[in-house]
Amino acid sequence: MNPFEQKFIIKTEKLQKSFKKVKAVQGLNLNVQKGDVYGFLGPNGAGKTTTIKMILGLIYPDSGKVFINDRNLSKSGVDLRSSIGYLPERAQLYKNLTAIQTLNFFAELRKVDKRECIELLDKIGLTKWKDSKVGTFSKGMVQLLGIAQALLGDPELLILDEPTSGLDPRWSRVLKDILLERNSKGTTVFFSSHLLFEVQELCNRVAILNKGKLIIEDTVKRVSDGVHQKPQLIITIKGNAKTAVKILTKNGFSSQIVKNKITIPLESNQKTSVLNLLENNGIVIQNFITKEPSLEKAFIEYIGEDASVGGEIQ
């Protein structure tokens, strides 16, 4: 094998799926590299869950192929799933089982040591409820238990469909830390989310899907930059902001005043020269912050006004 060749843990080729007259996924080519934290974005009905289910062999594509670690899913799906942990959107588990029974059951399916179940319950903060039935759990607790089962056996690939749905901010933070910790040990994380700040915070690569079609797949930075956004320098000054804007305009910088703060789009290497320019002209800078390009803005621009719910009608 060529040592410079990219290693893809998930690769899809011209994946296609329709439900009656709705084209849910159309000619989808995804490339998820080993070690990625990969964000899978798209509006409701874009085809994210359908794609995830096809990657797992839970639904069958009309055409196209899925490869996991270069192996064709349709030929060795059962074996391949031993290296995948999966959390479906709005996970439901067996209501009559307790938390520990649930994890023990899934540990048996994955053939992993049941001692890991106790450790995972501790990690997700459900030790106290280990003997309580899942039917008595809140939505967030079920979600946490669902996450724990996905982590069983330390799978090489985690596929999570809206993992923070139903979690309060504290547990969202715990989940993000767990994912980053697993990723630092080599686990590839593939997850779909509506929360773009979350994706921007966690992911190194993203794909945006709309009406079953791949709009873009790249690093978070390139996707954000792709809509020609620049970092923004936001300055709070002492005195009249209009004077500062005049100075900036005179020197070729576009800027605007929002709530007495001056916002200047610029390249990263221009920050010092702008600050020096203002100070040399007698402007007193109280504070400044730099705002990086936003994935949210990029998402909205890529999807545009086309972001209607559902796939494309044939």
Binding site: N96, L109, R110
Partner: protein, 263 residues
Amino acid sequence: MDNLRNKWILILTVLFIVLTLIISFVSGGGSLGDIEITVVGLLGISSLLVPIISIMLGYDTISGEAESRSLLVVQAYPVSREDVYFGKFIGLSSVLAVSTTIGFGISGLLITTFVGGTNPIGFLIFMLLTIVLGLLYLSLSICFSAILKRHTTSLYAGIGLFFWSMIISSVIMGVYLGTGGTITDLTGGSMPDWIWSATMILSPTDTYQTSILLGFDLRTASISGFGISIPDFISLSNILAILAIWIVVPLVVGIYFYRKKDI
């Protein structure tokens, strides 16, 4: 899973013991009746109860779990569709088999102890055939659950088939009467062979009841005012073959659909 299974086993076992003893008591006119009388009395109840229990156990195994999304989690593990499908069939079959064996077994022992002079082999055949009847409806209900999307539709299909099995012999007899047959033939124990063949093939409930009579070596009997004379070409072995087909065919059809199913 084990706890849930054990709970079902306990409930069904107690139900079978209580029912058998009540029927034996009623059939025996205020004291425990012998095994043969008890089994004849039980036939009607077990023909109704066991299929309904089996349908209730099996109807939401696939479609219900697919709707509740727990099947998504299970099938994302390294287990094949066959593992899940047959695993569910075997698990639920064990619930039926264990509860039937213990429930009827205990009551059978009690009757043998207190009444004596009984036919233990016949009773053993009754227990085995009751398990077979349960497996048959379980196989059918899991098959419906694999084919149909909604668990409520699977339930309706199971109940529909159960009613079909209850009425099909009457329909066949109706056809016979409508095409020149006489009521005397039907009640007098001289039904034409084709009615027997059609009923044995199309109605699992009638097949089960006939097989129980054969298990007790009763080729002629009177049930609900009907004189029954089972023709010689119907034997326990060919009835068992028919029941086996009723179990195997839905299992094969069900797994065929489940393998293709989008979860």
